[in-house]
């Protein structure tokens, strides 16, 4: 009996989520390490809730557990779009503590590495289970055609999730938004600098359009 009740509850909850416009969509912020995911999440959260989501760092894998900011209300054209933002650890196929040994001692680097690996596992799990839409953040100063990017975008596409590609760090000289547009022409690419706050209006317009 209990099982059936649980089942029924779960199903009704799922259908509620599907058909209720009021239920905030859970938007996962994905991307490789150091693309600026947390910086973006923090900017969005600060702009609309006044709080930050997590610590930012130039050292990769600062975010090692997915963090969620719920009920972020974004106002566009008089309408309000409510989303839950999930800031995820950078996804990669290799984690090596030696990347961090310049910044910390070996023991901490190894721990960071282990946690980062757990974080990737968690991020991939969330992608499968708990995300209604994806903001894919790329460092526009880096080559976007990588195994990780191709694979993740492919997974996202296979799930038919709405996805926006954010070409971050346009404040950098080496930035090339076109390179990203060319790499993933099937998706809308929005240039921005989360750090400098450049082009955030278009960012929010796009979020409202895609995830509202």
């Amino acid at each position: 009996m209990g099982l059936f009740t649980e089942l029924k509850d779960s199903i009704s909850r799922a259908t509620d989520r599907l058909f209720s416009e009021q239920e905030p969509k859970r938007i996962g912020i994905y991307g490789p390490p150091n693309a600026g995911k947390t910086t973006l999440a923090n900017r969005i959260a600060r702009d609309w809730t006044g709080d930050a989501i997590g610590a930012e760092s130039h050292v990769p894998h600062e975010t090692r557990r997915a963090r969620r900011k719920e009920n972020v209300e974004i106002e566009r054209d008089g309408k309000t779009v409510t989303i839950d933002i999930v800031d995820t650890p950078g996804v990669t196929t290799k984690v090596d503590y030696e990347e961090f040994t310049d910044e910390m001692d070996e023991e901490d680097a190894i721990r960071r590495s282990r946690e980062a690996t757990e974080g990737v596992a968690e991020a991939m799990h969330w992608l499968r289970e708990d995300v209604d839409g994806v903001i894919y953040v790329l460092d526009s100063a880096e080559d976007p055609i990588t195994q990780v990017n191709t694979m993740l975008i492919g997974i996202i596409e296979s799930r038919d999730l709405p996805v926006l590609i954010f070409a971050n760090k346009i404040d950098l000289e080496e930035s090339s938004v076109k390179r990203i547009e060319d790499a993933f022409p099937q998706h809308k690419t929005v240039p921005l600098s989360a750090k400098e706050g450049d082009n955030m209006d278009e960012v929010y317009d796009s979020i409202a359009e895609y995830f509202g």
Partner: protein, 338 residues
Amino acid sequence: MPHQCTNCGRTFADGSKEMLSGCPDCGGNKFQFAPTAAAVADSSAEAEGSGSLDADGTAGESTAPESDSVATRAAETVRDLVSGDSSDQSAADVPAEPPLEESAGATQSDAPWPSSEDAPETDSTTSDGEFEEWPETARRPEDRSASSDEAAADAPRETGPTDRTDSEWPPQSSASSGPTTTIADDENSAQANARSEVIPTDDLPSGSGTATRDTSDHGTEAGTDRGTAAGSEHGHEADSAVETPAGADGSSGDLDADQSPDHGRVVSEPSGQRPSLEELRAELNEQFESIKIVSPGQYELNLMELYNRDEYIISLQEDGRYVIDVPDSWRAGDDEDE
């Protein structure tokens, strides 16, 4: 069903990777390549014994059918290694379409020379360049070549391995292959030298450039099997191998097998390749791991596995243990929602 487990008879599709880790049914690691499903079964045994390759000269002509492609391959290889290999040409002559009888032995031998496409041209070129006589023969093959090419195309890649093994190790034992040997001597010596030192790995690259890679995997397996079965007499029989491609394909299996058990053993070479087989297995195994702990603090992640798994790792321990979250979808939903 180009591949068949010689132990339990299970068949594998062309390009199947299942067999790379041994037969999933019986664990056997000997496989034969069967271009035509039917004919193969019997021959399989022979195929392994295929040492017969050496039949070369005689076999070559009889085998002719597939030999064309083989020949072409051989021609190319030869070209690179030495100037003229009779084997190639001889093979070319043989062009008649392959009798299935030989199929087992022949097919495997053929395999090494998978690229039928190249063959026609190469044959002609080689023949023109060095041997005038061959042009004529070459022409015959050309006609036949179409058919042979097709046959070759189908079977060759996977079968290749066996052939290679054979072919690779033929250096000294050219005796069987009368015609080929003479011409081939140059190659044989060259190959012998190259191979004598480090047979396994080196051989593959030099032996049959194109085919090698595809076949190599299979070849290794085959090789290993044989290697274990028969000691390592590689060198002697190796010579025949070179030529074998052509000859081996055809009759060689029948005739030579008896004459030179060694040939079959030549296969031992594969043993040299074992490491690569193990690497392959390791690689395959890795593909089923979602997280590989290279060393503490160094990890390799299989994103697709992480994504596909119901459970996921939530905590890695220093000692290599890890904690996983066992999915309980209903409860999970509740937890997260509330």
